[in-house]
Symmetry: C2
Subunit: 358 residues, 2 copies
């Protein structure tokens, strides 16, 4: 266990946004909130998974909903704590620590706000190694752990607990219906996990990875070096396309942000076009009509100059973008993993082909 230092907060935000694959919500206001808490003297402990006792109870948190709406209703520590307290009350047992369900985007910072509010540490782990749009798309689901109870909170005095769900799909459906009724964004405390379950079934050291990625980008910027190139070198990533956004089609529907975007190539890609589809996160990319990258690979659209990630809700006409891919944790491309987070899980009738194979 060690204290997260103030100078790690910004790299954590940058790295989480890159691992978000366009989703998980912008980490910017989570970053501002956490920095403010630090400046007021609060600090948060980062705990390694092997420091958990087997029977410790860990809260698993995220804000659910359409990122575009999340942008309009800012995260705040008090709100993030609400569903965790509701679930703790329901369980009648105190949480030892808190972890993100997804390290990607603002959801990677959310457990730090909860930790600050409750005085418990954050576990250096998550259940996606990135961000995904649906509740069942986790390593816990791949390991067939139970998906309930789940609590949802609200800025108003509303709280809902899904105490049982017949399947992950039912949990997704029920919690999504409540989230939509609450205004298409809601902080949630997912099914709690024991220390043993975290050690065996989570994706480990994701917080450390996000901080490392953020540092790589920041240090390249300071050196006036190419941040995108530095990131891809350090993390074994791939540069897939460089271009300008010429078309965006985006709609908030059923609690998700769905759509697609087209990029016209520049530089070495000047003769090509790239199309990308998203559901909160970037799902699949086609270069000149041919699928070249797909989930679960971490597709990240980055500002070519700054190396800052560009979320699906902030994509805009004319932006100069580097389309990149980072490798996803192995468990996501296992056979069971692909059933849950591969292209077919998103309705694409194609087998997964890694962007790192050739």
């Amino acid at each position: 266990m060690r204290t997260l230092t103030e100078d790690e907060i910004e790299p954590l935000a940058t790295g989480a946004w890159i691992l978000g694959a366009g989703g998980g919500g912008s980490p910017y206001d989570g970053f501002l909130n956490l920095r403010e808490l630090y400046r007021q003297g609060t600090t948060v402990e980062l705990m390694q998974p092997d420091e958990l006792a087997d029977d410790d109870l860990v809260a698993v948190v995220s804000t659910m909903g359409a990122p575009l709406v999340g942008q309009e209703r800012l995260a705040d520590p008090e709100l993030s704590v609400k569903p965790v307290l509701a679930l703790q009350d329901y369980l009648g047992e105190a949480f030892r620590a808190v972890m993100p369900v997804e390290i990607g985007g603002g959801n990677g910072l959310e457990p730090f706000l909860v930790a600050a509010g409750m005085g418990i540490p954050v576990v250096d782990a998550d259940a996606m190694g990135r961000a995904f749009p649906e509740a069942q798309m986790t390593s816990f689901s791949i390991h067939e752990l139970p998906m309930f109870p789940l609590a949802l909170g609200d800025i108003r005095d509303n709280a809902v607990i899904v105490t049982r769900a017949a399947s992950w799909t039912w949990m997704e459906r029920l919690s999504r219906a409540v989230c939509t009724a609450l205004g298409s964004t809601a902080p949630t405390a997912k099914a709690p996990r024991t220390g043993r379950e975290v050690k065996d079934c989570a994706i480990l050291h994701s917080v450390t990875k996000a901080i490392r990625i953020g540092r790589t980008v920041h240090e390249a910027r300071v050196r006036h070096d190419d941040p995108v190139g530095a990131l891809l070198d350090a993390e074994d990533g791939r540069l897939l396309f460089q271009g300008k956004i010429t078309d965006i089609n985006r709609r908030t529907t059923g609690g998700f942000l769905r759509g697609d975007a087209v990029l016209d190539g520049i530089g070495p890609d000047a003769e090509s076009r790239f199309e990308i589809a998203f559901q909160n996160e970037y799902l699949m990319g086609w270069r000149d009509g041919e699928a070249t990258v797909m989930v679960p690979d971490i597709i990240c659209l980055m500002d070519s100059e700054s190396g800052e990630a560009v979320g699906t809700e902030t994509l805009r006409y004319g932006q100069r973008i580097s389309v990149t891919a980072l490798p996803a944790p192995d468990i996501l491309s296992s056979q069971k993993g692909l059933e849950i987070v591969g292209p077919r899980a998103f309705g694409y009738d194609t087998d997964y082909r890694s962007a790192f194979d050739d």
Copy 2:
């Protein structure tokens, strides 16, 4: 406390259907279920409100949703018990008894199925004295009692508890969203009440009233007398119109059955038309364009021959109908009552005028 006898079950169903004002769902399968339980040797105790200790905990049950869908998914005792057990588990305290939130329709019989399943008595009371479409339309709401926690169950292994709601409207919105996700029908256990709250804030003796109404109708049938006339005589009701259904417009939307119907007069009303609007329950009636009856009066459309109530989901072209009104419990037409269940609460820009005034 006394045992409900088997020969009271059918009158209870008939009376509950009449008090349903077209809604609350058909009591027919609740009746069949309860009769079957009795034939297998189960009986249910009916408890008077003054037999409750002040700190007894009472479950308040109903099936929520569009009656048309309720017709397609039959009530069964095991299902009705589910949300009550979920709520009991959440509260950590056993229920002393169970009561209907609305005596009207199938919901008037639902607590008997729960009582049979759990071995607890039914309290002779409800919170509407009829049926209404929305959760906040109760005497408990008029008395400003809290509206949470509320549990929803499902035929599948799903269960949701709304543990806090910022208002009755929020409770309605959240539970309706969950109900719709579960297929537009769900058994619920509403906010539990203490014995004191039931004695002070419920509508008392509603079960006895439903049985009495049913008996009046059945006995008139046996005598080959006019059941509609017998009912109106015995319960100080009014005959508003006799006619044939010539037009029905019905849609299931947002978890409700909404629509309107037109009747062409027969007999003494041959020169007139009657129009009636509904949202699960009959809300308002116009004779030749003039509003003559409205909520909270209990508007009941009855088969002119049999005196059987006709629900909003079973109205059909060509039916011969007697449009009648029964007086509602006084609390519903109090100033606070009308705010919650008067015509304006349903979007009609008109002051309440009782059908019994002139």
